[in-house]
C-alpha cells in the first residue's frame, strides 16, 4: 500500500519531467475554504498549510513519497538519548526580504512558536534552543521525544524572516516573508491568494510566474471551473463525480491517499462497552468493505490498523470480518441476548459521506439486535459536546476522524489512546485507558532506534486491535483533478497540491 501511494504521487510528478518545461504563466488551483491565516503561528488547516508551504519553508520536509528530507536543514542528528536534536543548516539561503538564513533565524522562529497559541504540534517538548555556530542549532527537549523529526516536517512549522518577526511583535503576520520558491503577493479574503516567483530562490527556480489559489466553496462549481479551463487543478472531487470526470477530455483525475482515519469510538468507561465482547461484537456486526465500496465509491480503504498504511509505525492487522452471527453470539455471551439500546453521535458533512455511513452502521447493528439512536450536530457544537469530561459525557458511541498529519504513529495514537489525554485535556474523547497501551505509547515515544520503535508500535496496534477500543471503519482517500496542460504538479497525501516544480504546457 505504501508503494502504491508512492507510485501515484510519483507518476503525476514524472509526467511533467518527460518534456522540457516551459517557463512562465499563472497556474490556478481551486480549493474549498479560505485560509484562516498565513501566519505559521496561527494556521490550523490544510488549505492554509498548502499556500504557506510555497512561500515559507520548514527545516525538514516530507516529500511526496512520505520520506523525510532535508530542506532548510541539510542534515540532522537525534541524540542517542533522544533528548536533543542537532540541526545543520543550509548555507547561502536568504529570506525574501534579503535577511540571511542562519542559526539566529531558526532560534527567533522557534522562540516565537513557543509563545504561539496553536503550536501544540511541537513545543510542549522543546525546552531550550542553543546556537552552536552560525549554521548549527540544538533543540533540547524536556524528555526523549523521537517523533520530533517528523513534527519538524510539518508545514505549520514554517520559518519566516527574523526581521519580520521583530516588526510584527505580538501581532499576526499577514504577508509571510519566507525562503520559498514563491513570494507572497496578494490575499483577497474569501477570494484568492496569489504568490509570485522568487527569482532568487536558493534551489531549483520555479517555472511558473505565479500561482493563484482560488477559494471556491461549492464542489460542483470547482468541477465546472476545471472543465472550462478557468482553473488548472481542483481538490476534493466528490467520489461519485470521479467516473464521469475521467471521461472529460483534457482532464486528469488523481486519486491519492489521505492520512485521515475515520473511526467510531466506544465509551470505554461505561456499560455496555466496558465488556470487550461487546466491542468486538460491534466490529463483527458492520460490513466495512460494503461501506467503502458502495457509500464511498471505493475512495478509501477498510482500516487494518488504527492508523493508515502510510504512517510510520503502521502494522497490518486482519480487519474484523463481517459476521453477524459471531456478533450475536458475543453479545449473548456478554448478557445482551435480548438486545440493547445505544446513542450514537456523528457529524454531518464533515467527512466524506459521514451521515450515510452512520445510517449504514445503524442498519447493520439493528440486524444483530442493537437499537441505535442516531444523533447529529453541527460541527462546532459537536466538538464542544465531545470535549466534556467523563462525568458529563453523554454518548455511547461517536464518529470522528483523525488526520495523522505528522505521519508518525505517535501523533496518530498517543492523543487518542493514552490515559493522560482524556477529554477535556486532550483528544482521548472515548476515555480509553489501559495500562499496557499507556506503557507502550510512552516507551515508543522515548525510543530513538527506528526498528525498536516500529516493533513497539506493532505490539501496541495488535493489542488495540484485539481490545477493539474502536469500531474500526476506514481511512479516507482523496480525489483531485487537474488539466493535462498543468505539468509537474504534486498531489501530496497531506491534502496539498504543490506547484513548486509545476509548469504550464501552453
Amino acid at each position: 500500500m505504501r508503494k502504491l501511494g508512492i507510485l501515484l504521487a510519483v507518476a503525476v510528478g514524472l509526467m511533467g519531467l518527460a518534456q522540457t518545461p516551459k517557463l512562465g504563466g499563472e497556474l490556478v488551483i481551486a480549493f474549498g475554504t479560505d485560509p484562516e491565516s498565513l501566519d505559521p503561528n496561527k494556521i490550523t488547516s490544510a488549505p492554509a498549510g498548502m499556500v504557506l508551504t510555497h512561500v515559507a519553508e520548514t527545516l525538514l520536509t516530507m516529500d511526496e513519497n512520505l520520506e523525510i528530507r532535508p530542506l532548510l536543514a541539510q542534515s540532522w542528528k537525534l541524540a542517542e538519548d533522544g533528548r536533543s536534536l542537532t540541526l545543520y543548516l543550509r548555507k547561502g539561503v536568504k529570506f525574501h526580504d534579503g535577511t540571511p538564513f542562519n542559526a539566529q533565524a531558526v532560534k527567533d522562529n522557534l522562540e516565537r512558536f513557543r509563545k504561539a497559541t496553536y503550536a501544540f504540534l511541537l513545543f510542549p517538548r522543546v525546552q531550550t534552543i542553543d546556537i552552536v555556530d552560525e549554521y548549527t542549532v540544538v533543540l533540547n527537549l524536556d524528555m526523549p521525544f523521537a517523533p520530533i523529526v517528523s513534527h519538524l516536517t510539518h508545514n505549520f512549522v514554517a520559518l519566516v524572516s527574523p526581521k519580520q518577526i521583530a516588526e510584527v511583535g505580538d501581532k499576526e503576520i499577514m504577508d509571510p516573508v519566507g525562503t520559498g520558491p514563491f513570494k507572497f503577493d496578494k490575499w483577497v479574503r474569501g477570494e484568492y491568494v496569489r504568490i509570485v516567483k522568487n527569482p532568487d530562490y536558493w534551489g531549483d527556480k520555479p517555472y511558473l510566474d505565479a500561482v493563484k489559489f482560488l477559494v471556491v466553496p461549492s464542489d460542483a462549481t470547482r468541477l465546472v471551473l476545471l472543465e472550462t479551463g478557468q482553473v488548472h487543478a481542483i481538490m476534493r472531487v466528490p467520489p461519485l463525480e470521479a467516473p464521469r470526470l475521467r471521461g472529460v477530455k483534457g482532464v486528469e483525475v488523481v486519486k491519492l491517499p489521505s492520512v485521515r482515519t475515520i473511526y467510531i469510538a466506544f465509551h470505554y468507561q461505561r456499560a455496555p462497552f466496558t465488556d470487550v465482547r461487546v466491542r468486538q461484537a460491534f466490529n463483527y456486526a458492520v460490513d466495512k468493505e460494503a461501506i467503502v465500496q458502495t457509500i464511498l465509491g471505493g475512495v478509501g480503504g477498510v482500516s487494518d490498523a488504527p492508523i493508515m498504511p502510510l504512517i510510520f509505525g503502521y502494522a497490518k492487522q486482519n480487519p474484523y470480518p463481517y459476521d453477524p452471527e459471531m456478533a450475536k453470539k458475543l453479545l449473548a455471551d456478554a448478557g445482551y441476548a435480548k438486545g440493547l439500546k445505544i446513542k450514537f453521535y456523528h457529524p454531518t458533512g464533515r467527512y466524506m459521506m459521514d451521515a450515510a455511513i452512520a445510517q449504514a452502521v445503524q442498519a447493520y447493528l439493528r440486524d444483530v439486535g442493537v437499537e441505535v439512536e442516531l444523533i447529529t450536530m453541527e460541527w462546532a457544537a459537536y466538538l464542544a459536546f465531545l470535549r466534556k469530561p467523563l462525568e458529563e459525557s453523554g454518548f455511547d458511541m461517536f464518529m470522528l476522524g483523525w488526520g495523522c498529519v505528522t505521519l508518525d504513529a505517535d501523533y496518530g495514537l498517543f492523543p487518542l489512546f493514552h490515559t493522560s489525554e482524556w477529554a477535556p485535556k486532550g483528544s482521548n474523547r472515548s476515555f480509553y485507558s489501559h495500562p499496557t497501551v499507556d506503557a507502550l505509547l510512552e516507551q515508543a515515544r522515548v525510543t530513538v532506534n527506528y526498528e525498536a520503535r516500529k516493533a513497539l508500535y506493532a505490539d501496541l496496534i495488535a493489542f488495540l486491535w484485539q481490545d477493539a477500543g474502536w469500531l474500526f471503519l476506514h481511512y479516507e482517500e482523496q480525489i483531485n483533478a487537474q488539466r493535462t496542460t498543468a505539468k509537474g504538479l504534486i498531489h501530496h497525501p497531506r491534502e496539498y497540491i504543490l506547484a513548486h516544480k509545476a509548469w504550464l504546457d501552453r
Binding site: 481551486a30 475554504t33 479560505d34 484562516e36 491565516s37 496561527k42 490550523t44 488547516s45 497559541t117 496553536y118 501544540f120 501581532k171 499576526e172 483577497v188 479574503r189 474569501g190 477570494e191 484568492y192 482560488l214 477559494v215 471556491v216 466553496p217 461549492s218 460542483a220 462549481t221 465546472v224 471551473l225 472543465e227 472550462t228 478557468q230 450536530m377 453541527e378 460541527w379 462546532a380 457544537a381 459537536y382 466538538l383 464542544a384 459536546f385 470535549r387 470522528l400 476522524g401 483523525w402 488526520g403 498529519v405 492523543p415 477535556p424 485535556k425 486532550g426 483528544s427
Partner: protein, 306 residues
C-alpha cells in the same frame, strides 16, 4: 423632508441597539464556542483555554457585553477571532462585492420586472401575459443553487461565453446577478401586473383615454406613476432580501460576499465578525428603507413628510 430623514435616522438607533443585543445573545446561546471551533479536532485543552483567555471569552457574559457596547460606541467592532483582522475591514471588504451584486441584480429585476409586468397588464390574457406569468412562476420557484448551476453549465461549459465563477470584470457579474435577480424579477413582474390592472380600471384612466390620449401615454404616464408606490415598497423589501439572501448565489459562484462571510463565521463561532456583519447589514437595510420612503414623495408629490 430633511427633518423627516433625521427623525427616521434617530429612530434607527434603538432598532440597531436591539439588533446588536439579539445577535450577541443568540450567538452565545449556540452550543460550542470560538475556542473549541477554532482549535479543531486536534486541539488540547491548553490550546482551547489560551484562545479563550486571548479573546476575553473566559470573562462573565455581562462583562463581555459591556465591553462590546463600549467598543461599539467608539465605532470599534473588534477583531476577528479567526483571522485577527479588524471586523470593520473584514466586513466592509466583503460587503462591497455583495452590494455590487445586489445593486446589479436589483437594476435588472426592476427593469425586467416592471417592463414585463406593464406589458402583461396592458395586454392581459394574451399569449405574452400567460407566458411571462408562467416564466415568473418558474423564476420564483427555482432554487438559486440549481438555477445558478444550470446557467453555469449552459453559458460557461457548453457555450463558453462567460466565466463560470469568481469575481473579476463585468462579465463575471452577469451569471450571478441573473441568478440572484430571477426570483425578484418574477415577484416584481407579478406585482406590477396586478397593481397596473387595478389602476387601469380606475376612472381617471377612463378619463385619460376619453380625452384621446395615446394608449402608451395613458399607461406610462397616468397608470404607471400611480402604480409605482406599491411597486417601490416591494423593491425596498426585495433589496433587503437580496442583501441577506445572496449567500447561496455567493456560494455557487465563489463570490467573496458578506453572506458567505457570515455563514463561515457562524460555523467558526467568530462572534465579533457575526455581530459586526449583522449590524452593518441592518444599517444598510435601514438606510435603503429610508431611501425608499423618500422616493415615495418623488414619485407621488401628494405625499408629504411632516
Amino acid at each position: 423632508m430633511i427633518q423627516y430623514a433625521i427623525r427616521r435616522l434617530l429612530l434607527a438607533v434603538p432598532t440597531l441597539l436591539g439588533v446588536s443585543m439579539l445577535v450577541f445573545g443568540i450567538l452565545r446561546m449556540l452550543p460550542g464556542d470560538p475556542a473549541t471551533a477554532l482549535a479543531g479536532v486536534h486541539a488540547t485543552q491548553e490550546v482551547v483555554e489560551r484562545i479563550r483567555a486571548e479573546h476575553g471569552l473566559d470573562k462573565p457574559i455581562h462583562l463581555q457585553y459591556l465591553g462590546f457596547m463600549k467598543d461599539l460606541f467608539r465605532g470599534n467592532l473588534g477583531k476577528s477571532i479567526r483571522t485577527a483582522l479588524p471586523v470593520t475591514t473584514e466586513v466592509v471588504s466583503r460587503l462591497i462585492p455583495t452590494l455590487e451584486l445586489t445593486a446589479v441584480s436589483m437594476v435588472l429585476a426592476v427593469l425586467l420586472g416592471v417592463i414585463v409586468g406593464v406589458i402583461s397588464a396592458a395586454k392581459p390574457y394574451t399569449v405574452f401575459d400567460y407566458g411571462s406569468m408562467l416564466g415568473a412562476l418558474v423564476g420564483l420557484s427555482a432554487p438559486v443553487f440549481w438555477l445558478g448551476l444550470m446557467l453555469m453549465l449552459l453559458f460557461s461549459l457548453q457555450l463558453g461565453w462567460l466565466p463560470a465563477a469568481g469575481r473579476g470584470d463585468f462579465r463575471h457579474l452577469i451569471l450571478p446577478s441573473v441568478t440572484l435577480a430571477a426570483s425578484s424579477v418574477a415577484l416584481i413582474a407579478r406585482f406590477t401586473r396586478s397593481t397596473m390592472l387595478e389602476v387601469l380600471r380606475s376612472e381617471y384612466i377612463a378619463t385619460a383615454r376619453a380625452k384621446g390620449l395615446r394608449e402608451s401615454r395613458v399607461i406610462l404616464r397616468h397608470a404607471l406613476s400611480n402604480a409605482m408606490i406599491p411597486i417601490l415598497t416591494i423593491i425596498g423589501l426585495r433589496f433587503g432580501a437580496l442583501l441577506s439572501g445572496a449567500v447561496l448565489t455567493e456560494n455557487v459562484f465563489a463570490w467573496p460576499g458578506v453572506g458567505r462571510l457570515v455563514v463561515d463565521s457562524i460555523s467558526a463561532r467568530d462572534y465579533p465578525v457575526v455581530q459586526g456583519a449583522v449590524l452593518m447589514i441592518a444599517v444598510s437595510f435601514v438606510f435603503i428603507n429610508l431611501v425608499v420612503d423618500l422616493l415615495y414623495g418623488v414619485v407621488n408629490p401628494r405625499i408629504r413628510y411632516d
